[in-house]
Each structure stands twice: as structure tokens, then as C-alpha cells.
Symmetry: C2
Amino acid sequence: MASYEGNPVAKNIKSAPTWSDESANLLKVAPGFVLGTVDAGSTPGFAGNKADGQAALAAGAAELSALQEQLFANSRAGDNRKVLLILQGMDTSGKGGIVRHVVGAVDPQGVSHHAFKAPTEAELRHDFLWRIRKEVPTAGLIGVFDRSHYEDVLIGRVKQLAPPEEIEQRYGQIREFEEELFDDNTTVIKVMLHISAPEQKARLMERLERPDKYWKYNPGDIDERMLWPGYQAAYQTALERTSTAFAPWYVVPANRKWFARLAVQQLLLKALRDMVLTWPAADFDVLAERARLAAS
Amino acid sequence: MASYEGNPVAKNIKSAPTWSDESANLLKVAPGFVLGTVDAGSTPGFAGNKADGQAALAAGAAELSALQEQLFANSRAGDNRKVLLILQGMDTSGKGGIVRHVVGAVDPQGVSHHAFKAPTEAELRHDFLWRIRKEVPTAGLIGVFDRSHYEDVLIGRVKQLAPPEEIEQRYGQIREFEEELFDDNTTVIKVMLHISAPEQKARLMERLERPDKYWKYNPGDIDERMLWPGYQAAYQTALERTSTAFAPWYVVPANRKWFARLAVQQLLLKALRDMVLTWPAADFDVLAERARLAAS
């Protein structure tokens, strides 16, 4: 599939009022994808409005929680499967909102969340994947990375934090790393929350106008904003080179927060539904245990 | 204050339909406390019924989430405060339910959860507090321990996993450790979820009767159940020796899950309210930043 904006077949898929597997495919990055053609304000694959989207999100929350519990239950019986959601996006693109409003529906015991900041000196002494490997989810969990190893080919590329030839090598290292995760029964879902530059401006302004939002603002955010075209180019390259069958990228238009949240929830739900989870059988003699308990 | 069951003053405190600070005091372990006198089916400090309790829990969820966000915001501005909720209790006492239904209201980014299992061989090569120290929450977070270093004076004592003199030393080591946490701006809330032996039997039987609960059942649970009096005695000793001004124990009657959840939520809320949190001031020139942003 080519860029979903440029693909006439994709355009002709009738948007459903509810989410469908076709909706997810509309967001997937495939050969020919061009980030610059994606409308950050669009809602591909969902014909409803904000209220419809919020209702669909609320409706999916219980299922997401229930499926994760089943995944966890199976992990106790030796099932090694887990999910890793990788969230990337420009400042204010809504990564934190996804964690709060989508992942927040899941039992805290079932979530492994990590926000990656600028690497520490200790971390910089290791390969860029070293600190990432330490945080991958274990069996039964939904792992969430708020930023990730992709920073090393995004800010790393834009600000030339490493020699160009080293950055070039990283795409292949990332593909290999993610194939390892796949082979280790990890469903990797990579999401770029795609906002427009004017939308970012409005969101940053809100942080400068509301005292309860000041703490989210950093003057460095504007420095990064000045590098917008460079970041978009770095994203384009990263998306092209690392969207694989075993760890595809999804570009989620995110100017409308309600849509981005619904889309990511549905990607998680699809990953879990595709596992065809059932409750694990008892690994003990149920009748004998009932008798033991009754006698205790 | 003596045991709240045996204390006529405590008994005369009029139970409020809503939770109050007095309610929390009714649960606090103070000199003279006797675990054996606590009715696991009681609802001290709350006069309402199950529906009232569930409504109060729902009403508190948004405040808990909002206060944690303020705590987190302040941590970004250098405030080192955090909360650590330690959950202990016999099997099926509802520790997991507290995490799901109370802590689940908080943004996953604001929670640091760890369930301590039987120590690994690597962990056993270290001091018993070594693995605990690695999991204490950082600034701005609500940490949750599902089981904890107290296992080392509970199962450790009941099953004689260490020499008696070593176990004796641990109470003092725990007090010192928790005072360190207090000095490091950690509000430590220790909760024993107190169920009765018949209630445990009913809950274990449910796990043996529902295929969607089999995974929570372990035949070893009955072996532990057989040691009930020993565990109650070990709890009594631990509560006596480690309930301090800087890290008090609360014994929460937990035969009624709705009450236990409400009580723990209210203990967390009180800890956060007592911090008198406000939004941190901007550490940048707001007007200058607005101008920079407008020009970007």
C-alpha cells in the first residue's frame, strides 16, 4: 500500500462510523509513504465526530483491560507474549495523553511504562540500544515507550549528535533489534503522533497561558520547533527505513486528540484480539484442590 | 491510641457517612494494638453501605489523579516528595484489587508499581533490603509495593527462612530503612489488608470454581493457609515493632472489598492533601516566551 493520502484505493474505502481493521491499515506506513502528504487534522478510517470517537474510546476501554488480563494470565502459564507500544511525535503531540487516556484503562499491574529522556552520561557510554533493552516488557505486559531508540535517529540526526555514518548504521541496528523482539513474541506497535506546526504553536501557547500548564513548558521546546522541517525529514527517513512486517509504523493524525487516542486504542485492541486469547487451563487437579480447601 | 476495637474513645467516635481524618486514625496501629481483636468484616470510620462506599471511591478517583499530577509537576521543579504505598496481606486479601481499583485512577506515568515475589538466587546473595531499595519511587510518583521487605519478617519468620537472630535484627533494619525514606521526603503508607480465615476460604473456592480465575490459584496457597495462626502472630509482631511516627501501619478490615478500597484511597488522598500542593511557578519569563512562540 502506498501513502494513504495518495492512494485512490485507500481514498475509496468507505469510512466506518466504528473502527475496523481497514482503518488500521489506512494508518500503516508502506512503501511510497510520504509524511508530507498526511493531513494532521484528518480522521482516516473513522467517519464519526468527536462525540462518536469519545464514545468508541470509552467502549473499548473495558475490552482492552480484559484482554490484557488474559494475556497476563497466560504468561503465568508460560506464554511469553507481550506488547510494546512505541510512541513518538513532536513536542505536544499527545504522547502523554495516550498514556493517560488509553493505557490508563489497563490495570497498573499489567503496564510497563518508561519515558526516555536525554541519555545520561552513563547511558552514553553504551550502545544506544543498551538502555532500551533494559526496559522492554516482560511476558504478559503491555509495555509503553514514551520516546525511544528512535530519538537516536531523530534528534540524533537533526542535531548531529553522532557522526553521520553512525546514524546511518542505526536504522539497520533498529530493524535487527525489533526483529529480535518479534522473535521473542513481542508485538511491536510503533506510532508517530503527527501534528501540524500551527497545532503545536497553539498547544505550546496554551501551556504559556495556563499556570497549571507552565510545568509542561520548556524554553527549549521553541528551539526544537525552529527545526521543524529537519525533524519532519528525519521522521520520513526513519519511517521509510524501519517500517517492517514485524514492526510496522503507524502514522496517526493527531491534531484531534480524540482521534489519536481512539486510533492507538484500536491498534492495541487489534494486537490483542489477533492473539486469540483464552483463559489458561488449570495446571492442578481442580477437584482435588477443592477437597483440600474444603478440609482446611 | 490503643487497638481501635478495644478503645472506648475510638468506639464513641461517630462514624461519618463520608470519610474523615478521624476515620484514618481508627485504622492506625498504635501501642497496645492487638490484631486478633480487629473484626475483618467491619467498616470502621464509615457508616455507609456498599453503594455509598463505591460512590465515595468513584468521587475520590479524580482528586487522587489530580493531586498526583500536581505532585509530579512539582517534582519537575525540584520538589523531591513522593509517596510509597506498601500492601501486605494474606493470599486473596485484595492487594491486586487495590492496585486496579484505587491506583488505577492515577495516570500510569505517575505510578511506580512493583510486585515482589520470592527472592531469586541473585537477590538472596544480597541483604534483604537490596532488591527493595532498587524499587523505591522517585520524586513525583506514587510507588506501590505489592508485598515488600515485610515478607522477610512474615514468611521469613513463619517458615524459618533465616536464623531467628537474623530475623530479630530485621525489624530494626526496617525501621532505619523507612526512616531513611522519610528523610528523603517519602510519605510511607503501610497497609495490612486484614481478612478472616473463612473469607479466604470463600475467595480461594471462587478461584477453584471459575475457569477465568484458575490462573490466580496455586496449590501452595493452601499450604500457606494451614499456617494461618503463625502468620497472624508474625503480623502482630511486625505491626508492633515497625509502626512508627514516620511510617505508620494501617490495618484495613478487608472482608468487604469496597471498604478496603475506599480506605486505602482515602489514606492516599490524605497523604497528598497534607502536602498542600500548588502548581509550581514558571521558571522562565512567561511573556518573553509567548513572544518567542508567536514569532516562531
